[in-house]
């Protein structure tokens, strides 16, 4: 038997940071399952119209309020339209609205937060007081007020949800920037004469990305719920559009005769939000344990 000592072992190449994160992430089974579910949803969002078994807007007046069966797995609605097909096609709407709104909110919030954290002073005060104002109203109320002003519709829901997403990013990115601002490598960049914009976006921003990714994932769940709530209240997608929230909203009128019209859209919203929250939890533990 060969005895090996510590010194005899070949020097292992250090694990790259990406590999380390992947390994840590894959240890968390729930997060991996959540990621797979999200990938499936994304697949539906892209190929929904192609894989839908029926035309989502084709009525069938001989089969109104049909319960789930072998042909219509999720049943039919008040116009005899196939619920499964509408849900599959509606994935694009529902996920698209939340992804778009969080992307917009994250971009604006991150930009403002990084600027506020780096420059401090008056910029910091303005950004932070602005986010105080947005935080002073409960999310759903702010969204309702915005939609009441700019009118209902999917694009306006995106704007409303984006607005209440901004302050959370601004605050998180501000504190992330503050924490790296005085680190040695930023000092070094400054001492060799880097411009502020270069220090900001090449040196500081990349090290705050981890906090942003975690918050981004978490906020998508919130955005799906908010968008569905607005659609439910009648401020979002039009009632005849295939959209999870709108389907739930119209389905509630038939709760006593066709409960499947409420069950399935809500279940999809629930699973999607749950998946994003679980993924967010997993990413937080992997990327930024301090946030725990």
């Amino acid at each position: 038997m060969q005895t090996s000592t510590f010194i005899d072992q070949p020097i292992k190449k250090a694990e790259s940071r990406a590999k380390y994160y992947f390994r840590k992430f894959f240890q968390r089974k729930t997060a991996v399952i959540a990621a797979v579910i999200i990938l499936i949803f994304l697949f539906f969002a892209i190929f929904g119209p192609q894989i839908a078994p029926f035309d989502p807007s084709l009525p069938d007046y001989d089969n109104l309020y049909g319960a789930p069966d072998a042909v219509h797995w999720f049943g039919t609605d008040e116009f005899g339209r196939d619920v499964l097909s509408r849900l599959l096609v509606g994935t694009r709407n529902s996920l698209g609205v939340s992804l778009a709104s969080v992307l917009i909110g994250a971009a604006i919030g991150t930009f403002l937060g990084v600027l506020a954290g780096y420059y401090g002073g008056i910029i910091d005060s303005i950004v932070m007081r602005g986010s105080d104002i947005l935080f002073a109203m409960p999310d759903i109320l702010l969204a309702i007020a915005i939609v009441a002003i700019i009118g209902p519709g999917i694009i306006n829901v995106v704007i409303a949800v984006a607005v209440f997403t901004i302050p959370s990013f601004a605050r998180i990115m501000r504190s992330a920037t503050l924490s790296v601002k005085s680190s040695l490598y930023v000092e070094a960049a400054r001492s060799i004469g880097c411009k502020n914009s270069r220090i900001l976006w090449v040196h500081i921003f990349p090290s705050t990305v981890q906090s942003m990714i975690v918050n981004f994932t978490m906020r998508i769940g919130t955005a799906i719920l908010a968008a569905a709530s607005l659609s439910f209240l009648g401020y979002g997608a039009k009632v005849d559009e295939p959209d999870w929230g709108a389907m739930l909203s119209s389905g509630r009128n038939y709760l006593d005769i066709a409960p499947h019209l409420v069950y399935f859209p809500g279940l999809l919203i629930f699973i999607a939000v749950l998946a994003f929250n679980l993924l967010g939890d997993g990413l937080r533990d992997t990327l930024d344990p301090k946030l725990k």
Partner: protein, 306 residues
């Protein structure tokens, strides 16, 4: 301590003013003539002018804002365009159901949330912990209005145990309270778990164990009591959002509360009522946050000494 109080209270006043201004502007930000928006297309020019005069829309904007603030200070929220009743009167009538609902939701969610959190922390890594956290993350992720509808279908339509909506008996409050409190329960469970885990790792818990105290006492008297400060803060912050959460739940359960009034008033374009409700929900939210901050200062001296 006094200085901390004064500083926090004074710091809130500018925020209240800005919010009141934004909410005042709400009517004016809606595209088109605000009077036409309220009165509808059928209104004659004379009717429009009368309404403009009676609602003060003919004055310059800054004058309108100052008289709005002045009325506000005197508790006058204006007259509803639709019902012709004072808005404050309409709101008082609707306040009770919303407050009751919020109270019951807070009550059950606090008890259940803390219990789940403490049990999960004490049994860290065991089945109870996983189950507790599964319930918690589901509670955060579930759409409240959907949960409400599913429960109506099961417990009202199918089993007939509770009414489908309205507020005729105390049983009418059961399903809405469960629905409304679900999110807080989940947040509290997660928060009290992590807060308990923190205090379970503290030296004073080790000391208590070393002294040979019984485990139950160690958990309840030492770890739990110390984690309570943060948990109380979270409860306070969540109650602020609960009242606004009633917008959806009251719509699902057809409860004549403030949230439902907001949805109805928006549909009727009764903007004075909408304005008053937005103001009420935001002020209530800001003030509860302020009270929680002050309480936290009292309970945790490190904060106020900063």
């Amino acid at each position: 301590m006094g200085r901390y109080f004064v500083k926090r209270v004074l710091g809130t006043i500018p925020l209240l003013l800005v919010i009141s201004f934004l909410i005042f502007m709400f009517i004016h930000l809606i595209p088109g003539d605000p009077v036409r928006n309220m009165a509808g297309r059928e209104a004659t020019t004379e009717e429009l002018e009368n309404l403009r005069e009676s609602m003060g829309f003919n004055k310059p904007l800054y004058q309108q804002y100052f008289s709005y603030l002045n009325d506000l200070v005197h508790g006058d929220l204006g007259i509803s365009y639709k019902t012709k009743l004072p808005v404050s009167e309409m709101m008082i009538g609707r306040l009770k159901p919303t407050l009751k609902l919020t109270f019951f939701a807070t009550l059950w969610s606090t008890i259940v949330g803390i219990a789940i959190g403490v049990l999960s922390a004490v049994n860290r890594g065991k089945l109870i912990d996983y189950l507790g956290m599964l319930i918690a993350i589901s509670g955060i992720s579930i759409p409240g209005f959907w949960l409400g509808l599913v429960m109506i279908q099961i417990f009202s339509v199918k089993l007939g145990w509770v009414p489908t909506g309205g507020l005729d008996t105390w049983r009418s409050y059961i399903l809405p309270s469960i629905t409304l409190g679900c999110g807080i329960m989940a947040i509290l469970a997660r928060f009290s778990r992590s807060s308990m885990l923190d205090s379970l790792g503290e030296d004073y818990v080790r000391t208590a164990r070393a002294k040979g105290q019984r485990e139950r006492l160690v958990i309840l008297r030492h770890a739990f009591r110390n984690s309570l400060v943060q948990v109380v803060t979270v409860i306070g912050l969540q109650i602020g959002g609960l009242l606004a959460g009633s917008v959806l739940i009251e719509t699902v359960f057809t409860i004549p509360g403030l949230g439902r009034l907001l949805v109805d008033s928006l549909a009727f374009r009764d903007y004075k009522v909408v304005q008053a409700l937005l103001l009420f929900f935001s002020f209530e939210y800001i003030l509860i946050n302020l009270i929680v901050d002050l309480l936290y200062g009292v309970l945790n001296p490190r904060i106020r000494l900063k």
